[in-house]
Symmetry: none
Amino acid sequence: MSKTDKREEIVRAALELIAENGFHAAPMALIAERAKVGAGTIYRYFANKDVLISELYQELEQRLYPVILENYVENKPIRERFLRLFTDLIRYFIANPLDFRYLEQFHNSPYGTEYRRDKILGKREGCDVFRNLFEDGISQQVVKDLPLVILFDLAFGPIQAVTRDHILGFVTLDEAMVSRTIEACWDGIKR
Amino acid sequence: MSKTDKREEIVRAALELIAENGFHAAPMALIAERAKVGAGTIYRYFANKDVLISELYQELEQRLYPVILENYVENKPIRERFLRLFTDLIRYFIANPLDFRYLEQFHNSPYGTEYRRDKILGKREGCDVFRNLFEDGISQQVVKDLPLVILFDLAFGPIQAVTRDHILGFVTLDEAMVSRTIEACWDGIKR
Amino acid sequence: MSKTDKREEIVRAALELIAENGFHAAPMALIAERAKVGAGTIYRYFANKDVLISELYQELEQRLYPVILENYVENKPIRERFLRLFTDLIRYFIANPLDFRYLEQFHNSPYGTEYRRDKILGKREGCDVFRNLFEDGISQQVVKDLPLVILFDLAFGPIQAVTRDHILGFVTLDEAMVSRTIEACWDGIKR
Amino acid sequence: MSKTDKREEIVRAALELIAENGFHAAPMALIAERAKVGAGTIYRYFANKDVLISELYQELEQRLYPVILENYVENKPIRERFLRLFTDLIRYFIANPLDFRYLEQFHNSPYGTEYRRDKILGKREGCDVFRNLFEDGISQQVVKDLPLVILFDLAFGPIQAVTRDHILGFVTLDEAMVSRTIEACWDGIKR
DNA sequence: GATGAATGAGCGTTCATTCAT
DNA sequence: CATGAATGAACGCTCATTCAT
């Protein structure tokens, strides 16, 4: 197993364990075992558990962006851009439930709060597509003139909730339902 | 300190610690210390940590319901009922940020998932006001004909996100902003 | 409930709990509960748990002696005295299994070892009937000329083992079997 | 210190502490300290305290059997076989008093009762030498025709008691005394 | 570089004992 | 006197991290 492979195995194992049952269910020894790697080996790739958790988060973000940007075209009507972006986002999560569950766990932990704070304060690079989309929407007067943070919450709040409930089996999101849900989100932010 | 006071101190200490930094930041010894109580004393009031966490959750729910129902009138237009209910909800959380943070932590934990599952499956009594509201809205054809779970997500998702961001200081919700946010949520679910 | 009654209830509760599942299964709070008495009350009758355990032991001994001595006549042949004494002993234990189990627990604990040491060293009064019986047996040359301690072990060892196995249900001691067992014990010590 | 050494040190420490003062006097932390090992290390070798206690018991049994079987010959007269077996047994215990004390503690605990029950019910392999000896003795009509359990008690009861008293210093078993004691046991079970 | 045995601080929990009521 | 709520030391056990091999 090459060096890169080892790192990947560790990251995969951590993702699975944490996504499935939360941080508390992912002791380092178990991650190591699931990655078929010595417990000490993890520390050659990650300074400590916090770093592993944060780097894994960033990797998931980095994997996600290209996929949802693949079919995204900037010079289209705001509404179309919104639907496209959020439909692809929700599809990605449905196709990659572990990613979704991990991101959720992270967001709901002290790590995530800190991370978010940094992004909002501009200390950390965020995903500009969404910001641009909302800012364009505001300036074109098709989106409500609300603070960006609130627009984000109006859009991502329902998406997160709905995706979670689909993954937990509380509702089933087929293509039609995804579409209607995202339309509803759009109704929430559009003028 | 009376018996009741001690229980209350324990509950308050647990609420504070968990709300501030999550379950993992609230060892029983620290809860006891913060409550100015011996470690063993907690176990006179709660069989174990899980029970403490669950009972605290239910207490917070029981405190919340009467407040948001105080000004709620069933035989009014759906839109008005919706605005009333969610405005009072968000106000309550802004006034009681620890409650909000605790409920959030709980919902995002395995406890919460189980709890929610039971509610959806009808094994546990939920808050019927919201369900009635949405069901009335659907039957009166003023609310989108979507599964209840999704309507809940469309309404509560943004509320939760927005409240969190206010409490974390990422945005400031004054009365006007609360009002506009809730109008936006209504736009999301209305036909 | 009179003072004496309370003490008796405590002792009874301790006997039951300890006999049934050992010392570790008898926390003071449980003894108090079973005795229908406040936890602190126990300490008005017994300085601490060790004292309770020791006094209970001595009470059981004091209850036992008169019963087995009831039909015991000193001026009879050694063999007859032996059979009489040990038959009544084993019958008593079969009729009072809690007593037996408690005595056993006590003997097998550090308490019991100390107690026994004191008795052998003469620091504590023992039951002289048995000693007299064996000493008479030796001097009349009907019992093996072995140290008293060993004669005790040859006699009580099997009695204890057999009684325990009866109480645990590993064997059933009817009258005939009791008789044959004690005869065998006698064969062991007789010349 | 090698891996095997550590396990051995733990087992030795547990043996010493438990043999000397019983299970309650052997907290894991003390066992670890006495073994010059971290508290957590014990759990690499034993899943929990119960397992440590049970495995230690089985190790002591496994050590004992070969020794007492070394000079045992099946096709000899019952009496000779009996004397040989029990003499070697008592000698082993005198030479290994910690083993004896530990086995005693174990037998007198809930672990031991369960263990014994399993053996008697045939759920667990026992030491067949003794059973065969007694069964042969019965069929050759040189041993009393009593239930096996009772024969065991008649033989092991005194042996246990006498060995305990030697180890506790209540009597001194020199070779002659061992011999006379075992002869007495034989008298107890022989026809 | 990779390992996994070893560590020990820290966890949730119990229980003999005390003492205000 | 009797109570039982309160205590906190001590328990069995976990797990992030280290380090000899």
